[in-house]
Symmetry: C2
Subunit: 316 residues, 2 copies
C-alpha cells in the first residue's frame, strides 16, 4: 500500500508509558528518537503534556509532562524532518501550561477526549491551534458510545477547525467490519476532515484493523515499536512500515532497536496478547481489570474472570 498522503505517528513512549509510568531514561528516548528519524517515520509522540499540579514527578517519569527541559535533555536540537507530538488529556492539563509554539520544540498537540466531552476537547484543541501547533482530536473508547451521542460529537467536530480526527479502538474490541462502518460514518459526518486510526491489540487485530482503516482511506496512522502500549499494546510499527512499502521508510533501524532494547523490555514490562486482555477485548470492556489481573502475582481464575466480567455488569 503506497499512498504518499499517509503519515505514520509512533507513540511508543506515550502509550508504552501507560504501562511503566513513563519511566524511560533520557537515553532510551533519545535512541528511540534517532531510530524513528532514520526510519523516516513522520511523527514521534514523546509523551503527555500534563500539569505537575495534578501528577507527581516522583511517581511518574518525565514523559508524563514533556516540559521543554525534558524534551531538550533527550532530544536536543531535533535535527531532521521528524515532527514531535505530545498528547493532552482533558482535565489533566491547564490551557495556560501550553507554551506558544515559538517557545517549544513540539510540533503537534493531540487532544484526547471521550465523546461526551467533545466540546472541551475542541476548546483545548482550538487553544493549541491559536498558540501555533498542529492539532488533532482523538475520540476515545467509541466502541461503547451510543450512535446518537457519537453523531453529536462528530457533528460538533465537523464545525471545528480541527483538521484530523482519530478513530480510536481503546478496548481492542473492534473487528474489520466496525472499522469500515465507522470510517465511513466519520468521513460522511465530517466532510473535508482527515481521519486517523489508533488500535489496540487485545484480539490480535491492531495491525489488521489499521490495514482496514488505510483501505478505508484513513491517512494518519498510529503505531508503536514492537507493539508496546497499554495492556495488549498497539499496532506494531515494524509490521506497518513493511506493509506500507513507501520507499522512504526503512525498517532496519527499527529491527535493530527491537533487538537492542524492546525484546528485553517486553520480558520485564509485559504487554501483548495475554488472556486477561483478550477477555476484556472480546467483552468490549476497559482493560483496567485485565491490567489488575496481570499485575497480581498469580493470574486469577480466568474462567471466573470471564464470567464476572460478562455477567457482572450492573443492570440498573
Amino acid at each position: 500500500m503506497f499512498r504518499p498522503q499517509i503519515k505514520v505517528l509512533d507513540c511508543t513512549i506515550r502509550d508504552g508509558g501507560l504501562i511503566n509510568k513513563w519511566q524511560f531514561s533520557d537515553e532510551f528516548v533519545s535512541k528511540t528518537f534517532q531510530v524513528l528519524s532514520r526510519a523516516c517515520v513522520d511523527y514521534m509522540e514523546v509523551g503527555y503534556k500534563s500539569s505537575e499540579k495534578y501528577f507527581s514527578r516522583v511517581e511518574n517519569g518525565a514523559w508524563k509532562f514533556c516540559t521543554e527541559e525534558d524534551l531538550k535533555r533527550a532530544i536536543g536540537g531535533k535535527n531532521g524532518t521528524i515532527k514531535l507530538s505530545a498528547m493532552a488529556d482533558i482535565g489533566r492539563i491547564d490551557p495556560q501550561d501550553i507554551l506558544p509554539k515559538s517557545e517549544s520544540i513540539l510540533d503537534m498537540i493531540r487532544v484526547a477526549c471521550y465523546a461526551h466531552e467533545t466540546d472541551k476537547g475542541i476548546s483545548l484543541a482550538h487553544h493549541c491551534q491559536d498558540k501555533g501547533y498542529e492539532v488533532t482530536i482523538n475520540l476515545m473508547a467509541v466502541s461503547k458510545v451510543m450512535d446518537r451521542d457519537l453523531d453529536e460529537a462528530l457533528n460538533d467536530l465537523s464545525k471545528s477547525s480541527v483538521p484530523v480526527v482519530y478513530l480510536v479502538d481503546s478496548f481492542g474490541a473492534m473487528y474489520s467490519e466496525q472499522i469500515h462502518f465507522l470510517a465511513k460514518k466519520y468521513f460522511e459526518a465530517m466532510p473535508g476532515k482527515e481521519l486517523g486510526i489508533h488500535a489496540h491489540n487485545n484480539q490480535q487485530l491492531a495491525f489488521a484493523n489499521t490495514i482496514e482503516a488505510i483501505i478505508a482511506g484513513i491517512n494518519h496512522i498510529d503505531a508503536t515499536i514492537y507493539g508496546m502500549g497499554r495492556g495488549a499494546g498497539n499496532c506494531p510499527l515494524e509490521l506497518l512500515i513493511s506493509f506500507l512499502k513507501n520507499p522512504k521508510f526503512d525498517i532496519r533501524p527499527i529491527i535493530e532497536i527491537i533487538q537492542e532494547l524492546f525484546i528485553t523490555l517486553k520480558a520485564e514490562v509485559e504487554w501483548g496478547y495475554h488472556m486477561p486482555y483478550m477477555i476484556t477485548g472480546i467483552l468490549n470492556e476497559h482493560p483496567r481489570s485485565g491490567m489488575k489481573a496481570m499485575a497480581s502475582k498469580e493470574l486469577p481464575n480466568l474462567r471466573q474472570f470471564y464470567d464476572d466480567l460478562k455477567d457482572g455488569t450492573p443492570l440498573d
Copy 2:
C-alpha cells in the same frame, strides 16, 4: 458472524506438534479432546498419518502416526458429536497404510500437498474417499506459487471429487487483500466446491485473515488453542469462537484449558510473535530459518538476518 454452515477444525495437536515433535502425553490429548467436545468445535485434527517406515517413534511422538491404538489410548470410544481428522502429507504415507473407515475412529483425512504435486494429492484423496473418509485438500504455500501453476492446480481440483479445498498461508505472508483475491479466484475456478482457510500468525494476521476469509464466504476454518502452531502459530481458537457468536460454541472450556495447560506450554515451547518469524513472514519465506534462529541459544543479529534473507536469495 453467525453462519450455520461454518465448520471449525481445531488442529492444535497436529500443527502444534510441528514445534514439539508431537510429544504430547496421552492425557494432554485426552483433555484437549474433552475440551473441544465441550466447546462444540466441529472437528479435532489429532495429528498426521505417517508411515513408520519413514519416521521413527523414538524421535516423534504418537501424533505423528495416529494409529488406531494411539487414538484409542487417548480418546477411547469417542463420545459426542466432534469428528476426528488426521493430515496426510504426500510422500510420507503409503496408501495401503490407510485403514478402511470401518476399522478407524477417524472421520476425515486432510491431504496436504504443494501446487506442483496436486495430481498426487488428488490421487491420495480419492483413495481415502474410496475407503470411506471425508476428505479435503490443503494446497500449501500458495503465496509463492506463480499464477499459471496455481490455475492449473485449481483446474485439476475442480475436476476431482474432493469437496473442500483449503487456502493455506503457510508463510504468514498474506494481507487481507490477498485473502479476498485468492478466495474469489478459488471459488471461480472450482464451482460447487467449499473452501477452507488455514492461516499463520507471522504478521499477527492469522485471526484477521481468517475473519476476511469468512467474510469472503469460506466455511471451513482452522484454528488452534492459544494459537499454538509452527513458528508464529495459527489463528487462536478462543478468538475465533468469540467472533463466530454461534450459540452452540462455548468459549469457557477453552479458557480453562489455556490456563491449565497452554500458558505454561507456551513458556516452554515458544510459538507466537517473535522477530525471526515476523521477518520470514514479511519477506514471504518459509519459516525454517526463523525456527533455526529461535532454536539457537541466542538470537542472531536480526538486522543481518533480515538483510541475508532479503538479498541473499540465489539469482540463477
